[in-house]
């Protein structure tokens, strides 16, 4: 018990003292996950909206696949990207394996289905309401997409947050394609795994606390933002 308490104190000291190792790991984690979420949102939000607006042969299949991919195990995503990017793989030339770039790609694959599938639901609901009015105004479906995305923004913030939650919490994909290389591809989750197995509980715990508070902070910010907007917009 005293060991744990000790670890907790040391963890706090590391955080408060802005331990350079810790800071480096935290910054890289944020850089990777935020880039992945940003790119996934840029692709996933319009994709989800398009799936909400258009019906075509195979539409149902795509929706089911997308929904299923929301539960894609991170290690499987990691393995697929690993195979693509490995020296012998089709994209091996790029030399991306074991770089932050590879980690971003792997996390995009994890986050994109979540954002696209949830955005589709949100936009579809709004589309039911807006459809006649927007058609009456003479908008084509393509031109409805930006309108619907903007008007669904409150719900879509939560959607993007869900994506960020997944990206920042997963360990399997970044471990496989990043390799947990000290100072290069070591992020919070992979570091926690490593430090725990090494028995360096203070650092593991410190990282865990930072991870937890970051996720809480981002969520609190988004909650406040959408609550004030909701109150203002009715």
């Amino acid at each position: 018990m005293s060991d744990d308490a000790n670890a907790f104190q040391t963890a706090l000291a590391l955080i408060l003292g802005r331990d350079p190792d810790l800071v480096g790991i935290v910054m890289l984690s944020l850089q990777v996950s935020l880039s992945a979420v940003l790119i996934a949102a840029l692709i996933g939000l319009p994709l989800g909206a398009a799936l909400a607006l258009w019906r075509f042969p195979g539409h149902g299949v795509i929706v089911v696949i997308l929904n299923a991919l929301m539960g894609l195990p991170p290690v499987v995503a990691g393995l697929s990207v690993y195979l693509l990017l490995s020296r012998a793989g089709p994209l091996g030339e790029l030399g991306l394996l074991f770089t932050p770039g590879a980690m971003i790609i792997a996390q995009i694959i994890l986050v994109l289905p979540i954002i696209a599938a949830l955005a589709r639901q949100q936009v579809e609901e709004l589309f039911q309401e807006y459809r006649e009015q927007l058609t009456s105004l003479g908008l084509s479906r393509l031109r409805m997409i930006p309108t619907l995305l903007w008007d669904a923004r409150l719900g879509l913030v939560t959607v993007v947050l869900a994506g960020f939650g997944r990206a920042s919490a997963e360990v399997g994909a970044v471990m496989i394609v990043g390799g947990n290389i000290d100072g290069v591809t070591r992020v919070m989750t992979t570091a926690i795994v490593l430090e725990t197995s090494k028995g360096n509980l203070p650092l593991a715990l410190g990282l865990g606390l930072v991870l937890l508070s970051l996720v809480a902070l981002v969520n609190a910010g988004a909650y406040l933002m959408s609550e004030t907007a909701r109150r203002r917009l009715g």
């Binding site: 309401e129 807006y130 006649e132 009015q133 058609t135 009456s136 105004l137 003479g138 908008l139 031109r143 309108t147 008007d151 409150l154 203002r232 917009l233 009715g234």
Partner: protein, 241 residues
């Protein structure tokens, strides 16, 4: 007020329905219908609930395509707008709702705000410009929808039971707006099940019952000498099913 009136009524193309019918899952919601709406008058589409009024308006406006038959405008398709029973407003401010409609119809950016403000003023909403449209009262929302339609400068305006959920003051505001559109030279096609409203507004009446057009007559004739038993009962205030 009437700065834009004087538009020639002959300019507005006629709406023609040829054997247009509408079926949903095998059920006939609108029986084959031949109809011609000409000129720049105020047509009131009347009838009990479920008679097919909304459906007819949607077919005419082009929101729905008929299952059989044809709906078309003679010559060219006029500029149109539609005001719905429950106004659909974007999750933005009152002013932004209007600027949006102007952006959609290609108004240059610098003209949007002044025009939108002018329309807000015209419909008595000037003080509410920054308010989110969706927290406005029902009457204010419907006026905002009318202001939006006004900005589109429609040649034909469809109104689908625009006053059915409003109190008398708000109804008056909507009816005044309809008259303003009329004076500007806009052709009005409006559905209602309120006889008094129809008497106040109609030039001609299209009476529907159970998906069929029972009568299409000048308002005068319809109210004083209705030809069908259903219309007689409807005017008497009996429950027409």
């Amino acid at each position: 007020m009437n700065d834009l009136s004087g538009r020639l009524t002959a300019e507005i193309p006629s709406l023609v329905l040829e054997g247009a019918s509408f079926l949903h899952r095998g059920q006939v919601l609108l029986s084959p219908l031949d109809l011609r709406l000409t000129g720049c008058c105020r047509t009131l589409v009347m009838g009990p609930n479920g008679a097919g009024k909304s459906l007819l308006m949607r077919l005419a406006h082009g929101l729905l395509t008929p299952s059989k038959g044809r709906v078309h405008w003679e010559g060219r398709t006029p500029r149109q707008a539609m005001v719905f029973q429950r106004p659909v407003l974007l999750r933005r401010s009152a002013l932004a709702n209007l600027s949006y409609a102007l952006a959609v119809n290609g108004t240059p950016r610098r003209l949007r705000k002044p025009r939108a403000r002018e329309a807000l003023e015209r419909f008595g909403l000037a003080t509410l410009e920054k308010r989110p449209a969706r927290v406005l009262s029902g009457g204010e929302q419907q006026r905002l929808a009318l202001a939006r339609a006004w900005l589109l400068d429609p040649e034909v305006l469809f109104l689908d039971e625009p006053t059915s959920a409003l109190d008398p003051a708000a109804i008056k505001a909507v009816e005044d707006a309809v008259q303003e559109f009329h004076q500007r030279g806009t052709r009005i096609v409006m559905s209602s099940h309120d006889l008094h409203q129809a008497r106040r507004l109609a030039d001609d009446v299209l009476f529907l019952c159970r998906g069929k057009v029972i009568e299409h007559a000048p308002a005068e004739t319809f109210f004083t000498a209705p030809a069908s038993s259903q219309a007689r009962a409807f005017i008497r205030g009996d429950l027409v099913l």
